[in-house]
Structures are given as structure tokens and as C-alpha cells.
């Protein structure tokens, strides 16, 4: 063996391994100390801090850490500007996820062109989630494409060259969660919507189709980015994003919480977490929570808390469409999706926002085989000119339609009012059509008040005292509207003491688990939604 060969053998690949270390260290520097300091000063964490704050310690296996723009002097590597997207495989609560996000400290997280996309629509991170059938977590903090790409390419790109087809495929296969952690416009904003659940941070994140400069140019409107797409608009008013967090730490905790209710993919069952809350716990407060006075509302959130496993409730869209409460919870450890009309808002009437919320939540739970529990107190669709102008009827029927297409088991608890088409949309017409009611329940195709005035118009008009006659007819009809009379006819499957609700539901949710296992896999949906 020559001296040169011996020397080479002694060195091995150490120079290259040293270069690898240097390149990895460059990747850790992100956009440099100055850019990171500026980012921090806006109460925003770097992408590496975000991933670190969200995943189980030590589980992040980065992929593509060497990507970026190398700087060379006399043929030697001087440094690397990393690609503005960090991603890889990690565990959350012991389960693998694909996680990635834009690095805002490098060119504001704008898109980067390598041989293969790392993140965004059609990027490696989506392929990883789709191939391994694991949840995808998008940490969104980027402005997407830039018109400057025309300069780089020498031509204008046709929309959809990097399309959403993979993002759409994922929506039927694995949980997709997006946290908007900065200003998101264009593609990143689109991806935030193409998620099963999204969250944004109040004050430091905004989401819109286009930002203030484009709005001013297009419409002459001068508006701040917070007024255009902050949480007040995007979460509370529009429901574009589902939940809001007060800071990034709370946001990460919410992402973890959401995923704790989700299976890894549509071929698996959601995880069971038994906290030892007795199935037969019968809270006395339930017996009097509904006021006898029909005009008085009550606290539906409290009612749900008294029935579900203690501490298991996670509300989706708590500030949008408030006439309906949608939440994940557990019953005897099994995940359920709860839909409850909120009598505090429009008496629980389904307005256009509540209808949208219901449509989304039913589809979500149906896709992931999560049984639904309806706590019904709905006088019907919202009425009035505003409601008609907002297409409440169409959105309401859409909610009814998706309920009629869903094949996951549903359990209906009629707490008080259950009227009309909105009431029908809260029942398991494809399945057991199993409805239990509290003694406070009342139902019909429409409420007696108002209905009487229309149906008995001539008789009322002809009476000496029309008002008194109207009230008389109402009282007559109401006496026959007792839920017990419907139970005699088996028109409702059971009437229960409200304190029995938890035990009764748990019994049937447990029994339905075997049936749910037979329907695992993607759900095909046919036909055209109204």
C-alpha cells in the first residue's frame, strides 16, 4: 500500500463529513441573527423553534436540511443560504406526523425552486403524509409566489403547475392541520383552508386571498392587514380559519389536542383514552338545566360538560356560527363529535353560519369514522330577510344533505325543540334513526306558535276575539304535543330522565364500535350537494 493510499485510508471521508457538519450548521442559522431578532421582536418564533415547541422532544428527523443556495469563493464553499422551508418526520404524543413550515427569516418564506419541492402544495411533505398515511401539520408563515419569478423563469407560470391535487387527495385520507403563524396570502392561505382544521394566532397572523397593496390597487380600499384578515375577520366573522390562539404556545397545544382525537388515517380507529370517568355518572344538575319557561335559554355548553367524559371537550369554531356548538369529546373513552344547538344565540335556530359549521363537522366526523351525538334544541332554520338573503335555506339543506349521506352512527338527544328540516338533519336516517328525548322535548314539522295563525287563519278571523281564539287553538294543540304521546307510538325511541343521558349514550356508542370498524377506509361521496 502506497503512502498516499495509507494517508487516504486514515482520513477516510472526514473532510466530506466535516463539510456536512458545516452545511448542517448553516441550515440551523436560518436567515441569520439579525433576521431572527427582527422575527422574535414581532412575537413570532422561528420555524425551528415552532417545530421544537410542537413535537415530542428529540423526535424531529429533518429531511432536506441541506437544501439552499450555496455560496462559493474560488470553488470553495463559503456558506449556504437555506431553502426557506423546514420539514421532516416527527412524533406528536408518540405518533408519527409529517410536519413542515416556511422560514419567514429567509425572503419572507417565499417559494424556492429546487429539483423537488420541499413544502407547499405538491411538496415532499405532502408526499410523506400521503405515502405513509400519517397526519400532516402545516406551519404556515409565507406569502407564497411572487411576480419576480417571471424574471427568474423568463415566462409566466400557468396556475396549477404546482397544483392542489395532492392537498385534495390528503383531505380524504389523513388528518391535515394548518396553523397560520404569520401573514398568509395566495398558495399558503389556500393550503390553510385545504385542512381538516386550522388555527391562527390573534395579532400576529392574518390570512387573505390578497393583501392590502393588492386591495388598494384593485378597489381603492386602504385597509390594514389585521383589519383585512386578522382573527376577528378570518375566525369570528368569516369562519375561514376555525380557531384562534392567544399566542404560539397556545396554538401548538391546540394542534396537539386536535390530533389527539384523530386517527392516523381513515383506515384506523380514533384513539381511545379512558380517564376513568364512570359511565353511570348521573349529574343531578341535568334534571333542572332546561327551564320550564320555553322562552328562557340555558347553558348548552354546561349540559355537554355534564354528559361527556370529564375534561374531554374540545370545541371547533367556538366563535363562528354560535347558534351551533361543534366539539370533539369522549364518551367512555371513545371519541365522538358533538353537535349541539345553542339556545343562547337565536334560540338555536340554524342560520347560514351554523349550517356551514354543521356541514363541515358532519363531513369531518364521517370521514374519520367518529360517531356523532346531536343535542337538539332547534326551532328550525333562521327566518327573516337577512337570513333569506344569506341563503340560509340552501346552506341549511346542504347540512341536511350531508347528514343524509353520512354513514357514521349518529345518536340524537332531543333536549327541547326539534322542528322542521333542521330537526330532521339531526337524525340518523341512514342508520338506526335512534332518537332519545328528555321530558322537556317538543317537536313537529313547525312550532305551534305561528303555525296556528297560518293554518287556522279563517277560523281565527271569524272569531269574536281572534287573539283569544288563536291562543285557545294553540293550547289545544300543545296538550297533544307531549313527547310521551309520540313515545306511545314509538315515533321516538325513548324518553329518559336527563340524568340517564350519559349512561344511555355510552352503552350505544360502545356497541357501535364493531359496526364502525366494518366501514373503515375512505368514504365515497356521490351526487351533487344542493
Amino acid at each position: 500500500m502506497s503512502d498516499a493510499t495509507k494517508e487516504a485510508a486514515a482520513i477516510g471521508w472526514e473532510p466530506e463529513i466535516e463539510e456536512l457538519r458545516f452545511r448542517r450548521a448553516e441550515a440551523q442559522r436560518l436567515g441569520g441573527a439579525e433576521a431572527i431578532e427582527k422575527h422574535h421582536s414581532q412575537n413570532r418564533l422561528t420555524i425551528r423553534e415552532r417545530i421544537g415547541g410542537l413535537v415530542d422532544g428529540g423526535t424531529f428527523q429533518e429531511v432536506g436540511g441541506l437544501t439552499g443556495q450555496g455560496r462559493y469563493a474560488d470553488g470553495k464553499l463559503a456558506g449556504v443560504t437555506p431553502a426557506p422551508y423546514v420539514m421532516g418526520l416527527a412524533n406528536i404524543e408518540g405518533r408519527p406526523v409529517a410536519i413542515g413550515g416556511e422560514d419567514f427569516t429567509i425572503r419572507g418564506g417565499t417559494s424556492w425552486s429546487g429539483d423537488r419541492k420541499k413544502g407547499g402544495q405538491g411538496g415532499f411533505i405532502e408526499d410523506l403524509a400521503a405515502s405513509y398515511l400519517i397526519p400532516l401539520v402545516n406551519l404556515i408563515d409565507g406569502a407564497g409566489g411572487s411576480v419576480t419569478s417571471i424574471n427568474r423563469r423568463g415566462h409566466s407560470v400557468f396556475p396549477g403547475v404546482h397544483g392542489f391535487e395532492r392537498s385534495v387527495e390528503l383531505m380524504g385520507k389523513v388528518p391535515v392541520v394548518s396553523a397560520v403563524l404569520g401573514t398568509a396570502a395566495g398558495g399558503p392561505a389556500g393550503r390553510a383552508i385545504l385542512s381538516h382544521w386550522s388555527v391562527m394566532v390573534k395579532g400576529t397572523s392574518q390570512v387573505f386571498a390578497a393583501g392590502p397593496p393588492v386591495v388598494e390597487r384593485s378597489l381603492g380600499q386602504k385597509i390594514s392587514k389585521e383589519d383585512l384578515g386578522g382573527a376577528d375577520i378570518a375566525v369570528d366573522h368569516a369562519g375561514t380559519i376555525d380557531n384562534r390562539a392567544k399566542d404560539e404556545a397556545e396554538c401548538f397545544a391546540m394542534v396537539k389536542r386536535y390530533l389527539s382525537y384523530m386517527p392516523q388515517n381513515v383506515w384506523e380507529m380514533p384513539p381511545i383514552v379512558d380517564i376513568g370517568d364512570p359511565v353511570d355518572r348521573a349529574d343531578d344538575a341535568l334534571a333542572s338545566i332546561v327551564p320550564r319557561d320555553r322562552r328562557r335559554p340555558y347553558n348548552m355548553r354546561k349540559l355537554i360538560e355534564l354528559v361527556a367524559d370529564k375534561g374531554s371537550i374540545f370545541e371547533i369554531q367556538p366563535t363562528y356560527g354560535k347558534a351551533l356548538i361543534t366539539a370533539f369529546a369522549r364518551m367512555n373513552g371513545k371519541v365522538v363529535g358533538i353537535l349541539a344547538n345553542n339556545p343562547m344565540v337565536y334560540g338555536g335556530a340554524m342560520d347560514v353560519r351554523a349550517a356551514r359549521k354543521q356541514t363541515h363537522f358532519i363531513e369531518l366526523c364521517d370521514s374519520f369514522h367518529i360517531p356523532l351525538v346531536f343535542f337538539v334544541d332547534v326551532p328550525g332554520f333562521m327566518v327573516g330577510k337577512d337570513a333569506e338573503a344569506a341563503a340560509t335555506l340552501r346552506e341549511g339543506m346542504r347540512a341536511v344533505y350531508v347528514a343524509l349521506q353520512a354513514s357514521v352512527p349518529m345518536f340524537t338527544v332531543v333536549v327541547r325543540k326539534c322542528y322542521g328540516m333542521a330537526g330532521m338533519g339531526a337524525t340518523d336516517k341512514n342508520g338506526l334513526d335512534f332518537k332519545i328525548a328528555w321530558p322537556s322535548a317538543e317537536w313537529g314539522s313547525l312550532p305551534i306558535e305561528g303555525g296556528v295563525a297560518a293554518a287556522f287563519r279563517r277560523e281565527i278571523a271569524a272569531a269574536p276575539d281572534p287573539k283569544a281564539r288563536e291562543r285557545e287553538i294553540e293550547a289545544d294543540l300543545r296538550s297533544m304535543a307531549s313527547p310521551f304521546r309520540t313515545a306511545e307510538a314509538f315515533g321516538v325511541e325513548d324518553i329518559i330522565d336527563p340524568r340517564e343521558t350519559r349512561a344511555y349514550l355510552c352503552r350505544f356508542i360502545d356497541a357501535a364500535q364493531g359496526r364502525i370498524r366494518t366501514t373503515l377506509g375512505p368514504k365515497a361521496r356521490y351526487g351533487v350537494r344542493p
Binding site: 322562552r295 328562557r296 337565536y346
Partner: protein, 73 residues
């Protein structure tokens, strides 16, 4: 002293104002009751404080999101 606005969750009309200017209220207390969809919908104090002013009178029509009272917290 900070101020906190109490807003109506619903479109309807003011049925009954059940507090007075200067009255101390706790978070969760009912300030006034709005009639909407044949129901009595309470306007709840989000924070504890003192009622500084009412911006509506009984029987007035209110719309969703409208500020109906101001509290000093």
C-alpha cells in the same frame, strides 16, 4: 380604568334592562335581556366591572354585534 363593551349576540329588540348605571356586575351576570326568535337572550357581562352607560333603551331594535352597554373594569 379600562372599558369593556357588552355586545348583543343576536338581532332582536331590547326586552328588559335588568341593571342600572353605576351598578357593579360580576363576569357572567346578565346586564339586559334581548328578545329574539321568541326567546329571552341575556346580554352577559364578559368581565366584572361597573355599568358606565347603556347605549340602548328598552324596546329598541338591536343588531348582531351591536354594543349595548359600556362597563368600567
Amino acid at each position: 380604568m379600562a372599558e369593556c363593551e357588552a355586545k348583543s349576540e343576536v338581532t332582536g329588540s331590547i326586552w328588559k334592562i335588568v341593571t342600572e348605571v353605576g351598578q357593579k356586575v360580576e363576569a357572567g351576570d346578565t346586564i339586559m335581556i334581548i328578545e329574539s326568535m321568541k326567546m329571552e337572550i341575556p346580554v352577559i357581562a364578559e368581565e366584572s366591572g361597573t355599568i358606565k352607560a347603556f347605549l340602548v333603551k328598552e324596546e329598541a331594535a338591536v343588531s348582531e354585534g351591536q354594543t349595548v352597554a359600556v362597563l368600567e373594569t
